[in-house]
Symmetry: C3
Subunit: 143 residues, 3 copies
């Protein structure tokens, strides 16, 4: 009978810049390997509301394009109401919503089941301090 | 051996206003407790296409900012083709897509495994009538 | 005791047009039936980064509205940095991010547990060639 497994790890990321895209695929592959889950899902989410996880190409020009596009649709701007609390990161909350915060990935035969160009990124919009990411792998344990 | 559990509940929300953000975290915490799932995932989705679930800060100014931002990117407008069916809620469909409709949350040691400021909201864009939300908790049962 | 099951299928879609919305609900219902999962989650994702899965109404006018809206927020444009690699599909990557790439759906009593108007679509933004979609159903097996 199939046995179920859940495996959780927490990553900590501190970016040099306020805005930065961090490539996570190799670390996530390692976590899936350690989970010993053969078939299931891998959930990845920041534990913060000024960052997001997204799936796209690991191509430098495109990563720049994504940054410019996010800034156009959710610009840094002093006038957000949220700033009346003393914060200055209203745009980071909106950018997190625009990329939808968290991502789920498929796991098949013990590995992330990704297409040729699919890579996973942590998008930081209020960095330069330690931020946590939760990774939870849930599924059928290796035989 | 780890036993698997699935637990499903349906919430009904009727907002006073057409557009409204409803804070769901306490109700979701209760459902996770009742599920008796120790380790797994909690899936939350409206059963409608004019609403969404999102994760962000429970701060009044920010909630206003999110509403203004959604209206800017997916405005109420008489000219949508969808309105030729007699509907007037084209913008609500686009706002639902912009916030990506549904959300998945991690459950660890029998509780939502959230960061300090992460809160879950139901975003209503065509309210003033009963709308349903499905919550499904899937994972390893408490020992 | 509840037995866990995971069931994976891959769909191939080749659209006639570069931009096209493909209605997937009937095929997904079939996959959930074949999975013999009674209670759980159904994960659906393109294996490409120029497409997305979304949940919304199967209404022709609205589908047109969504296309116009995506083009407004993430326009086709020669100036993307990504195009320096020889590509011309920078907009397709941004449109995929805007619709958030992948979707998770609830499965209850062996069927997709959807609201009356919820339908699942594959949104192609760089078509006219074979593209793959992964569908993974995870949950408690039929008794």
């Amino acid at each position: 009978m199939a046995e179920m497994k859940a495996h959780t790890e927490y990553l900590t990321v501190t970016t040099d810049d306020r805005y930065e895209m961090v490539h996570l695929t190799p670390q996530l592959e390692e976590i899936v390997r350690r989970s010993e889950v053969d078939d299931g899902l891998c959930f990845v989410s920041p534990m913060h509301i000024t960052a997001a996880i997204y799936v796209n190409d690991n191509e430098e020009g495109l990563i720049e394009d994504i940054g410019v596009w996010l800034e156009k649709l959710a610009p840094r701007w002093p006038g957000y109401k949220h700033h009346q609390t003393g914060e200055d990161n209203g745009d980071a909350h909106l950018k997190s919503l625009l990329l939808h915060h968290e991502t789920t990935l498929p796991v098949t035969r013990g590995r992330l089941d990704l297409g040729r160009w699919q890579r996973i990124f942590y998008a930081e919009f209020d960095g330069q301090r330690a931020k946590k990411i939760i990774v939870k792998v849930l599924g059928i344990a290796k035989g």
